[in-house]
């Protein structure tokens, strides 16, 4: 969904690189094949890679690292070579051959070059060599040192812990805390907030730790820190432990043991059940929905200390919301899921996927109507929430009927604003304590 900035920048880079290579090719074609091309010295040159330095008898290539400018120098007389003699021509030829793109590695091994073939190739391969070497230099520039810098660390850890998702999780917990029918306690709230945030960071880090090769193969996840090698697996696990231990401890001893237990259970459910189950069975979606439902329940139990009907209702609302959200998202990722080996309803049981999404949109309607019955909100709430609930149900129905990318995207984007708005409306219509006898919604 957020792929456009990346594709734009990569297109610009490709365009710039392509432009430089085109320039070099034009220079090569203008000059006679027997002339030497000039090496353009780059003031930023830090070191020079001598690819065939010791091997060439006919041709050598000099590359500048950090520069797209190259020298290709056909050697006119063998006697005057200032460089060491090549031991065999074979390696040169195979390298030139391998520069041709779109050949699987196993095929390129079988080529056996000959001197004569090399001579014939010379005029054309000069240009092809320059093009291929341009690609190669560009490829070399993409190699990064795996050195962790202190100022990069916060950004890397934020991405490792899926900070945006963590923020959403913590906001649902806060909503659960605020909706609980007890006086609002700031210290308890802050402890719950921090504890849940840490637990969520830990769970997300372990999830990324488990899924490195799968994430590499999916467009949505290929820029994660472990995939890019910005952080080592050991550091990721250590970070997760350093978040999980204080987080759960804070919840258990700072808030109450029930909330701590729920937090620990949720980490376990997400990392040890949901993550491996994604590759085994479509049941992972239901497990994942429970994972999403627990945080607001934790908020409620943090405030009240007990698991009562209101907590279950709030959990139920979040549980039902997960289905239109995730099923709509997964509809557009079917190819990636199939190739990566993920068992998702959208791939294996498409009709079920859409049916479940619609079913849970309607369940949301029902649960919002039950909220005042359970004393969570006033009766105004289901009334004012009706428009948005009807709208998401309508989009769920469209998705069920049309089963196309357009309807899935609409449903997904609707779910993104539907939930925060719903929680806000719930908060606005929160049932005040009985003694006050207030029925009207708070402004």
């Amino acid at each position: 969904m957020a792929a456009s900035p990346h594709t734009l920048s990569s297109r610009l880079l490709t365009g710039w690189g392509g432009g430089c290579i085109w320039y070099l090719e034009r220079r090569a074609t203008r000059e006679s094949p027997r002339r030497f091309l000039h090496l353009l010295r780059n003031v930023n040159q830090q070191w020079v890679t001598f690819q065939h330095f010791n091997f060439l008898r006919r041709m050598y290539v000099t590359q500048l690292n950090r520069s797209l400018k190259q020298q290709i120098k056909p050697k006119p007389e063998p006697a005057e070579s200032p460089f060491l003699e090549k031991t065999s021509l074979d390696e040169t030829k195979t390298e030139i051959c391998e520069m041709r793109p779109l050949v699987p590695p196993s095929l390129s091994l079988s080529r056996k070059p000959s001197e004569k073939a090399l001579m014939e190739l010379e005029p054309t391969s000069v240009i092809e060599g320059s093009r291929a070497l341009g690609k190669e230099t560009k490829e070399e520039k993409q190699w990064k040192e795996m050195k962790l810098r202190a100022d990069d660390l916060p950004g890397i850890l934020a991405r490792l812990s899926k900070i945006k998702l963590t923020a959403l999780v913590v906001s649902t917990t806060s909503a659960g805390f605020a909706l609980a029918p007890v006086p609002f306690d700031w210290s308890c709230f802050l402890l719950t907030f921090v504890g849940t945030g840490l637990a969520s960071c830990a769970a997300n880090s372990i999830n990324q730790f488990f899924e490195v090769p799968f994430d590499s193969n999916m467009n949505r996840t290929k820029n994660r820190p472990l995939v890019r090698g910005q952080i080592s697996p050991l550091l990721a696990v250590s970070f997760a432990t350093c978040c999980a231990v204080p987080g759960v401890a804070l919840l258990t001893w700072g808030v109450n043991p029930l909330t701590g237990a729920l937090g620990l259970f949720n980490i376990f459910l997400y990392t040890c059940c949901y993550t491996p189950l994604k590759r085994v069975s479509i049941a992972n979606t239901w497990v994942g929905a429970v994972v999403g439902a627990i945080p607001p329940v934790m908020g409620w139990t943090a405030a009240t200390g007990s698991l009562d009907a209101g907590a279950c209702l709030l959990g139920g609302i979040l549980y039902s919301w997960q289905f239109p959200h995730f099923n709509a998202l997964s509809w557009g990722l079917r190819e990636d899921y199939s190739r990566g080996g993920y068992c998702m309803m959208s791939v294996t049981h498409p009709a079920l996927c859409r049916r479940v999404a619609l079913r849970h949109c309607l369940a949301l309607l029902a649960m919002c109507a039950a909220a005042p019955a359970l004393d969570v909100t006033t009766w105004t709430f289901p009334v004012i929430a009706l428009p948005i609930n009807l709208y998401i149900s309508y989009l769920g129905f469209r998705f069920y009927r049309d089963a196309d990318r357009k309807s899935s995207r609409k449903l997904f984007f609707c779910s993104l604003w539907h939930l925060p708005l719903l929680l806000l409306l719930m908060l606005t219509c929160k049932r005040r304590a009985r003694e006050e006898g207030v029925e009207a919604p708070q402004s």
Binding site: Q142, P233, R334, R339, G341
Partner: protein, 193 residues
């Protein structure tokens, strides 16, 4: 999975043999300062002389995995060597699996598209010369079939990947502790003297 691994090893070994003479040995004057692990695949990348870290490259065209060029320190301990070899081997194993997986997927997808288009009586190319594609709903049949066909293979891969991932992380932990211990030990000797 055992059969796959034993089949994969000769290929990997052959690749190593074929390319161990190239790559970083092309500049022997750098050999003294930095030894590099022989890359198991075609990679002409050589890290700078002074670098004492691993280097990670762009995603591979076939496997989408990023190859790592492992740094070998002069005073590499047996444990560090074991870790590096495990990581190298896992990298090659992963590369093999995913390259094969992706190539198979694309090949079977092309075959499916061709066969469906033929069944519908359509050309493989549209009037504008573009490749004809099927709708997402038609492709869904292929995705479902591919997933169920490869289920067992994925199960074996998952199991092995989890084992290797845990092993690598465990050894990384051991190596880190060993390094910390080595750093502390000279200080202990000094304080005792």
């Amino acid at each position: 999975m055992a059969a796959r691994r034993s089949a994969g090893r000769p290929v990997v070994a052959a690749l190593c043999r074929a390319f161990s003479g190239r790559g970083c040995q092309l500049a022997p004057e750098r050999g003294a300062e930095r030894r590099d692990a022989a890359p198991g695949r075609v990679s002409r990348f050589c890290p700078p002389r002074k670098s004492r870290h691993d280097w990670i490259g762009p995603p591979d065209k076939y496997s989408n995995l990023r190859p790592i060029h492992f740094y070998i320190p002069e005073n590499e301990s047996p444990l560090e060597q074991k870790l590096r070899e495990l990581r190298q081997e896992t990298q090659e194993w992963n590369q093999q699996f995913w390259a094969d997986q992706n190539l198979t997927f694309h090949k079977e997808k092309e075959e499916f598209v061709c066969s469906r288009l033929k069944a519908k009586g359509l050309d493989l190319r549209t009037e504008s010369g573009q490749k004809a594609t099927l709708s997402a709903e038609e492709m869904a049949d292929f995705y479902k079939e591919f997933l169920s066909k490869n289920f067992q293979k994925h199960m074996y891969y998952n199991r092995d990947w989890y084992k290797r991932n845990f092993a690598i992380t465990f050894f990384m932990g051991k190596v880190a502790l060993e390094r910390i211990w080595n750093k502390l030990r000279p200080k202990q000797k000094k304080t005792s003297n």
